[in-house]
Symmetry: C2
Subunit: 452 residues, 2 copies
């Protein structure tokens, strides 16, 4: 079966109509009034997969249900577990939507609807990809679908589900399409995610708020002290000063740096896209290297003293900040959390005490660029787009990767089908119609290639 054949066989009208039916279900996992819609979306997917010949069921969890389906008719061939989610972000602010979020509408070649790209459109492309192959015979690999309903609220019950069904979910590779390609017309394979250490810094000065007239100049000021601590956490080269922070990092290879340098990226365009005059960061690394392959330290929130209108002449008793560090392979979140917890009290200015309260962490991951899975994905994408895929990483952290890694002990293959301009999580979320159809073909070809 050649690409031309499959592409010609795809009933695009039907594929779009089915996705629209799914998009019309307002499956907002964060909204407690939409439990029935969640169940309806799960049943929609179960019924569809069952109709394709999958053994499909809806499994209850402590939260929203999981759709599980398997089609295991390829003895001796690899098993692919396709993960996706049928829940969507809340639609607010509703008034900013040009057309209603749960009435999918095509404008300028894009399907506008909540969940169109994140992740109903991308997940359903795999359902339709399997269907396309099944319409011509058997699936070339064993396929399992795991479609959860709580991704947008942090997958609170997924890990327990994975543990409970670990044997059943066993796979050679876990395929996820829930993100963005590097650019339009650029097929992308994501082979790494950053980890995370998220902490709070608490600084205590006097035992009560003080009057800045009566005490200013002699009493320690915990806000000034907190600012000094934060300023000291990075040097003038943008490097994190925490001793040991960079120890053991899996440095970027010359090949990776060359590969990323050749990508169609413009610092000017990137800066303009977020409205800033410059892109500060760690010296010696390009913007993509800083985003994908280097650790960071960002303050995500800060507070202390008087924040209201007008003025209040107070020296606050305490101040605090939320600080997150994105981590790269070679950095262990717990070790990094320990390092900053040791370091902050040491750099606290005289007169105050400072401590670090850990929040949570997530491990960084990097998968083998040259694995047979990545190579198969590259071949499949080339058949759709007519060009080699870009091997990128993502700056974000995807906590479920650790769960898949630890519990299912299989590598993850990220084949993202969307684009940043789809505006996931925002009003007027969309998915290009062509990206949806390309996604279906990518899925079908990828299962073929994985079967080779």
């Amino acid at each position: 079966m050649t690409s031309a054949d499959l592409s010609a066989l795809l009933n695009r009208e039907q594929a779009q109509a089915e996705l629209f039916d799914l998009l019309r279900i307002p499956s907002v996992s964060a909204d407690p009034t939409r439990g029935a819609d969640m169940a309806r979306a799960a049943e929609f997917l179960r019924a569809k997969l069952a109709a394709l010949g999958f053994a499909a069921r809806v499994d209850a969890t402590a939260g929203h249900p999981v759709v599980y389906a398997e089609h295991l008719q390829a003895p001796g061939k690899p098993t692919v577990l396709i993960y996706g989610h049928y829940d969507v972000q809340p639609e607010a602010p509703l008034e900013e939507w040009v057309t209603p979020p749960f009435e999918p509408t095509v404008r300028d070649g894009r399907i506008y609807a909540r969940g169109s790209t994140d992740d109903k459109g991308q997940a359903y492309a795999h359902v339709k990809g399997a269907e396309l192959l099944l319409s011509q015979g058997e699936l070339p690999v064993n396929v399992k679908f795991l479609l959860e309903g709580e991704e947008e609220i942090g997958s609170p019950n997924l890990e327990a589900y994975l543990r409970e069904h670990a044997a059943e979910l066993k796979a050679d590779v876990i395929l996820i399409s829930d993100g963005s390609r590097f650019a339009p017309d650029v097929p992308t394979i994501t082979y790494g995610v950053r980890g995370l250490s998220y902490v709070e810094i608490h600084v205590q000065g006097a035992n009560r708020d003080l009057h800045s007239g009566s005490y200013g100049g002699a009493a320690p000021n915990p806000i000034n002290a907190l600012c000094e601590i934060i300023a000291r956490l990075k040097d003038d080269q943008g490097r994190v000063t925490i001793p040991g922070f960079y120890d053991g990092i899996d440095e970027l290879t010359a090949d990776e740096r060359q590969m990323w340098a050749s990508l169609p990226h413009s610092d000017e365009a990137f800066a303009a896209s977020i409205g800033v005059p410059a892109l500060p960061g760690e010296a010696g690394y390009s913007t993509l290297e800083r985003l994908w392959g280097r650790p960071t330290l960002d303050v995500n929130g800060i507070w202390g003293g008087y924040q209201g209108e007008g003025s209040k002449t107070v020296i606050a008793a305490k101040a605090g900040a939320k600080v997150s560090m994105r981590l790269v392979p070679g950095q262990d979140p717990e070790r990094i959390t320990g390092l900053i917890a040791d370091y902050v009290p040491k750099i606290a200015p005289a007169g105050v005490s400072a401590k670090v309260v850990p929040h949570h962490g997530g491990r960084p991951f990097k998968f083998d660029l040259n694995s047979p899975f990545n190579k198969a994905a590259n071949r499949a994408l080339k058949r759709v787009y007519g060009r080699e895929a870009v091997f990128a990483r993502t700056g974000g952290s995807i906590p479920i990767v650790a769960a898949f890694n630890d519990i299912l002990q299989a590598p993850v293959l990220f084949v993202d089908l969307g684009l940043n301009e789809d505006a996931p999580h925002s009003p007027n979320e969309s998915f290009a119609v062509q990206d949806y159809f390309n996604g279906i073909l990518t899925s079908a070809y990828l299962l073929q290639e994985l079967g080779q």
Copy 2:
């Protein structure tokens, strides 16, 4: 008339009973339901002063009324304007009061009541001081009382009142007792107040909040940048780095430094009183010098990003801080505000823009230590306490000083009668019975000394 005479003549029971009557009136200027109580307190004072022979009246203002009274029977002698206020702070939190705030109660030699020290007790001591002298003949100077009802809400109508009645209020010196002596048994004359420049710093990064995973490492972080800016505003010696900040400062004299060094002050006790392990500050100056004679820069509030429970991985678009600088004689608030407004944008890290938004300012003041008024006050205090007065300054800023200086063009003489331990503005505010009686005698002697 010797001190012993006056002291013997003072009817202490009567003096206390009258003050209690005044303290029972809940004249909380911030409470809009207590307008009648405000009027009652004003009338109480007017009637008392009228009974002493003063030409006394209650003048309406746009807010709470002013009590004005004058006794001008000392031709050729100086005119003393005694300023005080009959309004008090709100009594909340009520549950922390041991006895009700408007039922004055004596325990362990202290009168517990809202307003006991701030400022009914201190102001009424002057009324009783004048009465004590009048009971023996004429007043030795011309005396004017200006008792306002809005001090605790920022004296919003006082400046207009001063302008309207400038000719009538003309005086050679303005006497104020509305603060704390340096220590128990230490008579204190306060001859200087710090000024103030209060600004906000606003830092803008990207044009919207960004995801710290997708953008962290490349996008500018306005909170980190704000912290760097704030850290850069002081050097490692605790000196403010704003160019020109210290220019023109009226440096402390060797005499002043020696005088303050001899005061009964302990850094250890001061640090312990606010529960801090050390007292950081500008190198080369003692704690009292830092508090009274050196300028400061304190952050009074800071905000940015996510401040709620848990974690949010956001790079905020903006961050801000409220910053106040206490100023000393020789520093002009408008000039200092201009300097920081020029400087902050220059030290902003790459990628963000920073600007300063001025709030308000107040001028520093220092009065001549060796003026005849200060000398007279010292003699009067010596007659009461048997020791020389301490010449102190205060770290706070007293905005009405500028109004008195500009409109009435007379120096201010601060003869504080209270103590920090009186806990003005706090629950269980009190005034030592002995300090009240000493205040009455101080007032009488001071009028005598000023008449010499």
